[in-house]
Each structure stands twice: as C-alpha cells, then as structure tokens.
C-alpha cells in the first residue's frame, strides 16, 4: 500500500505534468525540426511564433465568448484553434515571402537565415506585445476543470494519495497524439510528405526528381505555424499565457530538437519527452515519496530535491551539452556538423 501511495504521488506530481509538458515541447520541437530540415536553419523566431499563435487563439476565444458560444465541457480555446492556426500560417507565409524567400534566391549562408530569424523574432515579439500587452492571461477558464479530481481518485482507489487529471492536461496529450499521428501519416503516406522528406534528405536529388522547392517550403511553413499555434495554445492552457515565457521556452524546445536529432521528426517527439521528464525528475522534491517508501517512521530532512525548480533550464542545457559532446547527431541521427 505504501508503495502504491508513493507511485500515486509520483504520478500526480511527476508523470502527469511531465507528459503534458513533454507533449508541448514535442509539438514545439517538431516545428523547429521541420523548418530546420527543409530550410536548414535554426529558427529563433519559433518561440515568438508560438506566442503569436496563442494570442490569436485568445483573441478568437474572447470573441466567441462574447457571442455566448462555448464548447461544453471543453475550453472554448479548442474551438478558436483553427482561426488561430490560420492567422499564424498567414503570418509565417507572409514572413517567408518578404524575408526568407529573398535570402533563398540569393543562396545566403544558413547563418544569415539565423540572423534574419532574430530580426523576425524582434518583429513578432513587438507585434504580439503591441496587440495583447505583456500581462498574464489566464486561458481555459470555461469548461470542466478536471477529468477526475484527486478526491474522486482517492475514493475510487482507496489510497491516501490522489491523482488529479486536469482537463487541459488530458487535452494536451490527446491533441499532441492526434497532431503527431496526422503529421507522420502526412510525411510517410502522402506524395507531398514524401517529397518533403526527399527534399530534406538530399536537396539536389529531390530537385532532379522534379520536387518543387517552393511548394515544399510552403508546406513546411504551414506545418510549422500550425504546430507552433497548437503547442503555444496547449502550453497556455496548461499554465498561463505570457509573451515572455514563450521567449524562454525557446531553449528547452531547441534542446528537444537537438537531443532527438535536428531534422528528424521522430527525434523531436522523443527529445521533447526526454527533456520534460528529466527537467521534472531532477527538480522534483522527493521528500513525501521517500516518507512512504522508507521503512519505519524515518522522515528525510529537507525537500530531497536535486535542484531547485528555478534551475530547470540548466537541466535542458546539461542534456544538450552531453548530447553535443557524445552524439552530436542526436538520438535519431538528424543532420548535423
């Protein structure tokens, strides 16, 4: 029983949040990895693209709520999501048309693309802040809060420790699953997806086989923008929306993409979960878990926390460094060095 309690505690505070956070990172990293695979640069504006998409979703949600429309037990944000995706896709395609296409036609070095993406990041961040400001915005304030609460779980299982599953966490995992399955189906089964993979693997060969590069780029941006919006919205629903946080999310997202192997979609998903689980495992306070497991009435002093939560960035960074040192191509052999 003690062991079960410890497991329940771990699930509630470690596994469930890490699953949700990992899903968000995976979605973000997928966007980064797609852009990297096709356009061959690290898109530093991706975090701000997520912020913009989330903002569009919030604005649409407000509009819907003002019309008295809601989505029953689910948060209205899900209804607003398509509109947000549309707005972000338009923004991303517009950026590509105005900024990146010129540098593509000039065959600029990847590093120039990267610097251009810094400039784009400036622009996006100004745009988002100009429209919605810098304040915290709560998301998901309608619909049911929990799929099941800690108390319901305790009554059902008879344990002392409960597991709560918030609606937003459930949605995050389900939506990620849907997105990932759809994306892989697209990449592996459709003609357009196959041409994308071909282009990513070997540009010259793909061009010779008649792949239209502009079309591939177009699809890559549409997918990246859609994924960014979904990732940003899921993160916002799970936690809160604040433009600055999305800037900071850039590091774990890049870490996920690199750990999995830049350019490899499977790697991005795996990397997202690796980073999320390690971040939360290392910054989790094990005191109460140990209280259950340890024999007798031994209670450990202190929180038994490896690192305080403020250092969660350090975790993604250390993993990143280790991967760079040991296996620069990432777990799933992306393109590298």
């Amino acid at each position: 029983m003690e062991i079960m309690n410890a497991l329940a505690l771990l699930s509630n505070y470690l596994v469930v949040p890490a699953l949700a956070y990992g899903s968000q990172l995976a979605l973000g990293a997928l966007g980064v990895t797609l852009v990297y695979g096709i356009l061959r640069f690290s898109n530093f504006a991706h975090g701000e693209l997520m912020a913009f998409g989330t903002m569009a979703v919030i604005l649409m949600t407000w509009f819907l709520q003002a019309q008295g429309i809601s989505f029953g037990a689910l948060p209205t944000e899900l209804l607003a999501l398509p509109v947000g995706i549309l707005a972000t896709v338009v923004l991303a395609l517009g950026t590509d048309r105005v900024v990146y296409r010129f540098h593509r036609s000039k065959k600029s070095q990847p590093v120039i693309f990267l610097i251009a993406s810094l400039a784009v990041m400036f622009f996006y961040s100004g745009l988002t802040r100009f429209i919605i400001g810098t304040a915290d915005r709560n998301m998901g304030d309608d619909g049911a809060r929990f799929i099941f609460t800690a108390r319901e779980f305790k009554e059902w299982s008879g344990l002392d420790e409960g597991i709560a599953l918030r609606t937003t966490q459930g949605i995050t995992v389900v939506v990620t699953l849907v997105c990932v399955v759809a994306l892989f189906w697209f990449l592996n089964r459709t003609r357009a997806g196959k041409s994308m993979r071909a282009y990513s693997d070997n540009e010259d060969l793909a061009l010779l086989s008649g792949v239209n590069p502009e079309r591939v780029v177009l699809i890559a941006w549409i997918l990246a923008a859609a994924l960014a919006t979904v990732a940003g919205t899921m993160y916002g629903l799970d936690k809160t929306f604040k433009p600055f946080i999305y800037l900071q999310l850039l590091l774990p997202i890049f870490a996920s993409a690199i750990v999995g192997g830049l350019g490899s979609p499977v790697g991005a998903v795996a990397g997202g979960f690796v980073i999320a689980f390690s971040e939360i495992t290392v910054t989790f306070a094990y005191k109460r878990v140990l209280t259950y497991i340890m024999p007798g009435d031994n209670v450990p002093d202190g929180l038994v926390q490896l690192l305080s939560t403020e250092y969660k960035f350090a975790v993604s960074f250390v993993i990143l460094v280790v991967v760079l040192l040991v296996r620069p191509t990432g777990i799933f052999k992306g393109q590298s060095v």
Partner: protein, 437 residues
C-alpha cells in the same frame, strides 16, 4: 564615397542627433543616452570581434554582461564579516569537494576507456554532488539568514570598483572558455543555442543564489569609480555653487551633468582603448589569419592554421569585452539587479547594433551601438507622439486610442526588427562595410 568619409559623416550625424536631444529635451538626458551609447558600443565591439572577425554566433550576450555585473558587486562591496564567519568554511569545503570531483573525473576520463569509464564518471559525479551539497546547503542557509534584510550575502573584496571592469572581463572570458570548449567545432547553430542556454542559466543562478549576490533582493549603493563625484557633495562646495551662478545653471542640474560627464569620460577612454586594440589586431597578421579562417575554414586549416584554437581564442576575447561592458553598466547604474536582464534588451538589441552598424568593421560596430541605442531610447517618446498625432481625431476615452497609446512602447521592437531586415536585405554589410584590405 570612401569609407573614411562615410565614417566621419555618419558619426557627425550621430553627434548632431545627441546635441539635438540636449537642446530639445535636456542636456542631462543627452548625456545619459551618450553614456549608454558608449557602453553599448563596447558590447557591440565584443560581438563584432566574434561575429565580424570569425563568424561566431553568440546569442548569450545577456549572460556575459551579467557576469560583468557580478564582478562589480564582488569587487566593490565590502566583505560582510558575520556571514563570512558563519558560512565561509562550509563553502570552502564544498568548493574543495567540487574541485577534487572535477579532477577525479578528468583523471578517470583520460586514463580509462569504454563502459567502465562511463560508470565510474557517473559514480564520481553523483558522489561528488551529494558530498558538496552536504557542506554547501547548511552554509548557504547560515549566510542567507544572517541579517537577510540588509546583507545576507558574503559581500565582496571592498576594492575600487574600477578594477571590476577587468574582473568582469575575466569572468566572462572564463565562461566563454567553458562554452567554447564544448560547442566550437560543431555547426554554427549549436554555438548559438549553447550560448543562449548558458546565458539563461547564468541569470537563473544570479537570481537564486542569494549568498552570492543577494539574488532578486538586489545589491544597491555600489561605490562610484574614482573621478566621478557624488551630486550631493559637489552641490555643497562653494566653488561649484559659484560656477553654477556664473554659468546661469541650476546647481542640481549642473551637478548631474558633471557626474554624467565624468562617467562619459571614463567610458570613452575604455571604448577608445578597446577600439584601438581591435583596429591594430585587425591590421596585424593575426587579423589577416582570422579573416582567412572566416572566409574559408578548410583552406585556412590546410595552410596549417589551428582553426578551433583561434575560434576559441576569439570567442573568449569577444566575451571578455562584453563582460567589461557589463561591469561598466552596473557601475553606471550603481546597483546590481538580476531581474532586469532581459534577452531582448541585452542580447538581441546588441545583435541589431552589429548588423546595422556593419559587421567586420570596428567603426561600424561602434556606430551601430550609438545609433541603435539612441533609436531604442528615443523611439518611445517619438512613437508615443506619433500615435497621439495619429489618433488625435479620436475621443480621449476611445478604447482603440488608449490601447494604441499603451502599446506604443512595443512599436520599437517591431521597428527594430524591420530595420534589421531591411539592412540584411539591402545593405548586408551594414552602414559601414568592412574595408577591403
């Protein structure tokens, strides 16, 4: 137009802009902008060393600048005897344990191979970490609970703050060595991402390790460097008062101008020294080698140049210059506030300076530092004025007008992004292009 004419005319424009602010707004404000322009120029020079000379992408400027700020605190603040008494022994033991652990890891890493090595290294890391924490945690608790409202940290060396500029450079250079060792030699993107990470971590450490820098409780009242006087003191001197009446300026106003001028002088000296060093380095055989490496790494390597070593060297040098600028900034502020380090302002704005000014050209980087900072500060009032004008037909309480006015401050972010993109597209070499040698 030759580069020389271009440089002098652009700097003349910059001077006119600053003088205009001095006349239209106030001389004190113009000097305040000038001081930050000077510091920004030093930072931009540091990044230009990395990007312009060697093509290295550093996206962690914020972290290196913050390390300079820490140096200012650790050098200038007096030691706090009570906290040292309760905490220093524990910290020292923890430090010793860490050093021994690292030495052991290096030893094992060099002398063994295969699975056993990974296993042993992991074991040593775990054992070392917990032993160090065992001494570190109680010491930190003891330090932070000692008079936490006023001190609660170890304090510093109590030396003149001007030394911190050098120490800041050393700190930043040390951090750069660590990152460079890991990520140089890989794709350029990886260096960018690694520096982004380390800067976030540095800021997180500074915010949370209260025993070192008081964290978000901030360290205020840093002493000023030698020739810079305190306003209150000079206001009371009779000679100064007679000056003020002679010039027909308010005493308070004049004292603030004098203080800022003193800072400007100091910063200008530092900027000139670094600029001179940079220029002569670029002209030397070393500079030629750096350009050769930047333009064709393979060819340079084939000619027997140690590309990775040179990259590491230039990365350390550039970061050290950023660290110096960071220490200067904290000195000017007179306080260290880890909460104010924001990547948009401290990392990406500096990039805008280098790109807009002209990468590979030291004068370009300096001009970029001046121009972009000036624009950054002045865009806010100008943007506000512009929106006010644009919406003047609307009612005072019109929500759209109010929203636009409150968002005007963010327009400068958009404007900065657009200017950068325009420069990248139409003048990819910046305002002052690299001169052909």
């Amino acid at each position: 137009m030759s580069n020389r004419v271009r440089i002098s005319s652009l700097f003349a424009v910059m001077a006119i802009l600053l003088v205009t602010v001095g006349v239209v707004q106030s001389p004190s404000l113009a000097l305040a902008i000038l001081n930050l322009c000077l510091i920004s120029a030093v930072m931009a020079l540091g990044i230009n060393i990395q990007w312009g000379y060697a093509g290295l992408l550093n996206v962690g400027i914020m972290g290196f600048a913050a390390l300079g700020g820490v140096a200012a605190v650790l050098v200038s603040k007096g030691p706090v005897a009570e906290t040292i008494a309760v905490g220093a022994p524990g910290l020292l033991v923890a430090l010793l344990v860490t050093v021994v652990t690292i030495a052991l890891i290096v030893l094992v890493y060099r002398s063994m191979k295969g699975r056993l090595r990974s296993l042993l290294v992991t074991l040593i890391v775990v054992a070392g970490y917990f032993t160090a924490r065992n001494f570190f945690d109680p010491a930190v608790v003891a330090i932070e609970s000692t008079d936490s409202a006023a001190t609660g940290y170890l304090g510093g060396l109590g030396l003149p703050i001007i030394f911190s500029w050098l120490v800041g450079g050393l700190f930043a250079g040390g951090a750069a060595w660590l990152i460079g060792k890991v990520s140089l030699g890989l794709r350029s993107d990886y260096l960018a991402i690694a520096t982004l990470g380390i800067s976030e971590i540095i800021i997180a450490v500074l915010k949370n390790e209260d025993w070192l820098t008081r964290g978000v409780k901030n360290v205020t009242g840093l002493p000023r460097p030698y020739p810079v006087p305190y306003e209150v003191e000079i206001q009371q001197s009779p000679a100064f008062q007679s000056w003020a009446t002679y010039l027909g300026v308010d005493v308070v106003e004049l004292s603030s101008i004098v203080v800022k001028l003193a800072y400007s002088g100091l910063f200008a000296i530092v900027l000139l020294i670094i600029l001179l060093l940079c220029e002569s380095a670029l002209r030397s055989p070393w500079g030629r080698m750096m350009r050769a490496i930047r333009d064709n790494e393979t060819a340079a390597e084939a000619m027997g140049k140690d590309v990775k070593g040179r990259h590491l060297q230039v990365f350390i040098l550039g970061s050290a210059v950023v660290g110096i600028a960071g220490a200067m900034l904290t000195t000017l502020d007179g306080q260290f506030t880890p909460g104010t380090y924001n990547p948009l302002r401290f990392t990406f704005l500096i990039w805008a300076m280098v790109i807009i000014g002209g990468s590979g050209n030291n004068w370009g980087a300096v001009l970029g530092g001046f121009l972009v900072w000036f624009f950054w500060v002045e865009a806010e009032p100008v943007g506000l004025w512009f929106i006010d004008l644009l919406t003047s037909g609307m009612d005072e309480t019109n929500p759209l007008r109010q929203h636009l006015l409150s968002g005007a401050a963010f327009m400068r972010l958009m404007a900065m992004g657009i200017i950068m993109l325009l420069v990248l597209r139409f003048a990819p070499k910046g305002l002052i292009p690299e001169s052909r040698r």
